[in-house]
Symmetry: C2
Subunit: 236 residues, 2 copies
């Protein structure tokens, strides 16, 4: 369905200015360019599975990916949403463990794979990149801690509003400027919010009744962002 043209080189990649790797030294980028393997994952396909061993990191060229955990009772919890320029798989690699989450394409997605040995060796020889990685990890840790606090303290209504805004921040709008440019099922939204699917459906209907959103199947339009922000009860 969707068609990508091979980025061919990291030097010409659309993400060369946005990914963490943009801070790596030229010589290493060349090396990565030689060893990287590009692949296309169709919607629903898995990049890697929770529980298996990492053998490299993935860099999204174009597309959308969800990163999700399985809870002890088998329920999905979506941990992160990723887009072009994002790197994934580094957490498990750096702490020397199996993947603690699965990565699944939300739409057809083009991904470059960088082998473990190369990644580690570049990281060893390029202090700048190492600092970028530490910054990335620190930022993710921060986000996780904030999310944790909200999960513990905010009611579902606020969290759903916050999640819609988060989706908008992450993937933005379609060309009409109001439709969220990702199709998520109600269940996926619920697994992002951390609640039951029915609660999510009900609250979305309420948001629609209140005129904050418009619903058309999986298409969600944000009509009144300010109202949503108020509903989310955000401080910053």
């Amino acid at each position: 369905m969707t068609h990508f043209h091979d980025p061919t080189t990291c030097q010409s990649c659309a993400q060369r200015f946005t990914s963490v790797f943009c801070k790596a030294k030229q010589e290493f980028i060349s090396e990565i360019n030689e060893q990287k393997i590009c692949n296309i994952y169709k919607k629903g396909q898995t990049l890697f599975n929770e529980g298996s061993y990492p053998f490299g990191v993935y860099c999204i060229n174009d597309g959308k990916v969800k990163l999700s955990h399985l809870g002890d009772d088998g329920k999905e919890q979506i941990i992160r949403l990723l887009r072009g320029g994002d790197v994934l798989g580094y957490r498990a690699l750096l702490s020397g463990e199996r993947y603690s989450a699965s990565a699944i394409a939300l739409e057809d997605t083009q991904v470059c794979f960088i082998p473990k040995e190369l990644f580690i060796s570049v990281l060893k020889n390029d202090t700048g990149l190492a600092f970028e990685m530490m910054k990335l990890l620190s930022d993710e840790l921060h986000k996780a801690e904030v999310k944790l606090t909200h999960l513990a303290q905010k009611p579902i209504r606020e969290r759903l509003a916050e999640t819609l805004l988060f989706i908008k921040e992450t993937y933005g709008y379609e060309s009409d400027g109001i439709t969220l440019s990702v199709r998520l099922s109600r269940e996926e939204i619920a697994n992002l919010v951390g609640t039951a699917t029915e609660s999510t459906i009900r609250l979305l209907s309420e948001f629609k009744k209140d005129g904050m959103v418009e619903l058309d199947g999986k298409k969600i339009k944000i009509l009144r962002q300010k109202e949503l922000i108020k509903t989310a009860n955000l401080q910053d």
Copy 2:
């Protein structure tokens, strides 16, 4: 009340084999040793405050510290519990932001402070330490993600049981082998679990009735760990 004798040198510090810094090269350890500043914080005193700028990292020599966030409505959420050998303050430093949490001593605690510039420069020149930091960040991120999932999916009863086990893992028992060696208020336990104080009090009473714990003010004894693990409904 409590008396510490100055560790004098990093080379003789009780934590020299457990902290991340143990992997740093000798020359850097010497440098840290010269520039570090040791301090004692009394119970309840603050090492640093959410919202202020970091100017270094803290290394706990002996004692206990809680790291907590304020939610948007001002309610405390305890993010992490720290003990001797743990480092803190690096997250904000590495991502170049203000502290996103406050650190408060849970009992009289001895802490070494390492200035920002030194920490960064050692990190730049010691790849091993940089990797240790990445591993540390990755581990923390992992823990945060698991906690997030549990917070979203598990009922409070399970989370309280899990929290008691977590406290035990972190701080261990007193010499009697059953009393948790930290005194936390019910409110603090609630802020760790992510629930209302009353719910925590009620459930602790239930646990007591079920014979899993014994309560004597802030002293909590774990009588049946296996039952607790079952109650926590943990997989691993």
